[in-house]
Amino acid sequence: MSKKVVILFGTESGNAEFAAEDIAAEIDGRDSEVVDMTDFDIADFTSDNFYIIICSTHGEGDLPSGAVPFYGALEADTPDLSGVEFGIFGLGDSSYENYSKGSERIDEKLRDLGAKRVGDYGRHDADTGTLPNASAVAWSQELLASH
């Protein structure tokens, strides 16, 4: 049986949450749940679930405010995440420096703690004037077909 999909979003303006909801709405035939990183207890990470991380970038390549407590908890508690698999999709705006860096910080931290990134690294550039929803859904469909 396929693993349950937990979609964790880290947001500042709501765009990552908006895309996370659309990803969940398009998941057929398996359990899924959308969770704000702010409300997520990192002790709940389990290899029984598959994680989709969708995270924006704020200011100078910083984390969005919604991802700050999550990142801080990972840093403080350094849980062993071996066996945990995730796919990641980053939001950013290429008209600024440090495009899409927010998600990269999460990616790096999760891998440092033993989690394994699978599939292609998804990205969306807000400079196109579009929201990430369509490309994030397409990316997630391809990812979930094999994970």
Partner: protein
């Protein structure tokens, strides 16, 4: 109102605070009747008329809000100015919850002699004009070779960038051609950007300064002292951003932008039209006169004298501005609640908090229609 019912909600103002409030309330009350009123025929307030037209990524947030109206059953009622076309009392009688999200639309005044002269323009007026606001026109706007911008926040950074962008490029992102030709006119030779804060307290975001570095044919200068390593990291980032901008700009160029830190505006001179702005150094009292064909004031926003609904007229015994509660069933959110600080994400956080207060009041049976 019983627990099984849902409240009816009216939100006044369809800018980011109003739309985010609708979003959060819709999540909690999937079946509630939620209506957003706006005095203009089209929604989205400052996202449409305040965010610079070349910041498509920021404006894209409206696509989140589109869904409120297209799929989530939130109703938009445009061209109704609450307080004028329909009284707030009427609205409170019709809806269980009324949320004021009308923002702060007036340019804050400098409060110095001469600011009423021709050639002094509030940044709100200019950004509305650039964004095609139906109330604004080119009438009476006259620029020249030298523009002085008072204020160094992100609005000032927008005005610098837009003034130096080729009119065709502005037209390409939807700016009216006549407006683009006026704002980004070819005569412009010099922009002086003056703030009362030292660089350590300057209001701009570093990303906005870095963006200025992409504009061709501009020399940048700054009068900020170059500090050593001791400064705090945020201050150091601002200093580095300005220094990098200055160092990477050509020594000679067709246009020059000078940053002046720590200067307080004291007087505007000129016959009918402005000719110079006078500033006084915050610490030494030294005086500086900057010649100006036009002055943009970008020192923040305040409640308009003519605002149809004024927040403080509704202060009651139960007012708690910390949570957005004004009176029974009446709330305020966003800039109207906490003042003109913070961009779109800050107003999302604000809307979340006020929505939580509304939900809490609903769950504690604190909502009742007000009888007129």
């Amino acid at each position: 109102m019983g627990q099984n019912q849902v409240p009816t909600v009216a939100i006044v103002g369809s800018g980011p605070s109003g739309c985010y409030t609708a979003q959060f309330l819709r999540k909690r009350f999937p079946d509630a009747q939620i209506t957003i009123f706006d005095r203009l025929p089209m929604p989205y307030g400052l996202v449409r008329f305040g965010v610079a037209p070349d910041h498509a990524g920021t404006k894209a947030v409206t696509q989140q809000f589109d869904r409120l109206f297209e799929r989530d059953g939130v109703k938009f009622v445009g061209s109704i100015e609450v307080g004028k076309d329909k009284s707030l009392e009427e609205l409170r009688a019709e809806f269980d919850v009324v949320v004021l999200a009308t923002g702060l639309s007036a340019d804050r005044q400098l409060g110095i002699p001469g600011e009423e002269k021709n050639g002094v323009y509030g940044s709100g007026r200019i950004t509305r004009l650039i964004n095609g606001h139906p109330d604004e026109s080119l009438e009476g706007i006259q620029l020249g070779e030298r523009v002085v911008i008072v204020g160094q926040g992100n609005v000032a950074m927008d005005l610098i960038r837009l003034s130096l962008t080729h009119p065709e490029e502005l037209a390409g992102v939807g700016v009216d051609r006549e407006v683009a030709d006026l704002i980004a006119h070819s005569m412009l030779k010099q922009i002086d950007v003056v703030g009362r804060s030292e660089i350590s307290d300057a209001k701009f975001d570093v990303a906005m300064v870095k963006e200025l570095g992409k504009i061709a044919d501009v020399r940048f200068t700054s009068d900020a002292p170059i500090l050593g390593e001791e400064g705090d990291p945020e201050t150091q980032k601002r200093i580095d951003a300005i220094n990098t901008l200055v160092d990477n700009s050509p020594v000679t160029a067709g246009r020059v932008v000078n940053f002046h830190f720590g200067w307080v505006p004291s007087e505007i001179n000129g016959e009918q039209h402005v000719s110079e702005a006078i500033f006084t150094a915050k610490h030494t009292g030294e005086r500086k006169a900057l010649p100006a064909d036009a002055i943009y004031t970008a020192i923040g926003f305040t409640e308009a004298e003519a605002a149809a609904v004024k927040r403080d007229a509704h202060i009651s015994e139960i007012t708690d501005l910390e949570t957005g509660r004004l009176a029974q069933g009446l709330y305020c959110v966003g800039w109207l609640r906490r003042g003109p600080r913070g961009t779109i994400p800050a107003n999302r956080a604000d809307a979340k908090m006020v929505s939580e207060a509304i939900i809490e009041d609903f769950e504690n049976n604190q909502l009742e229609k007000v009888t007129v």
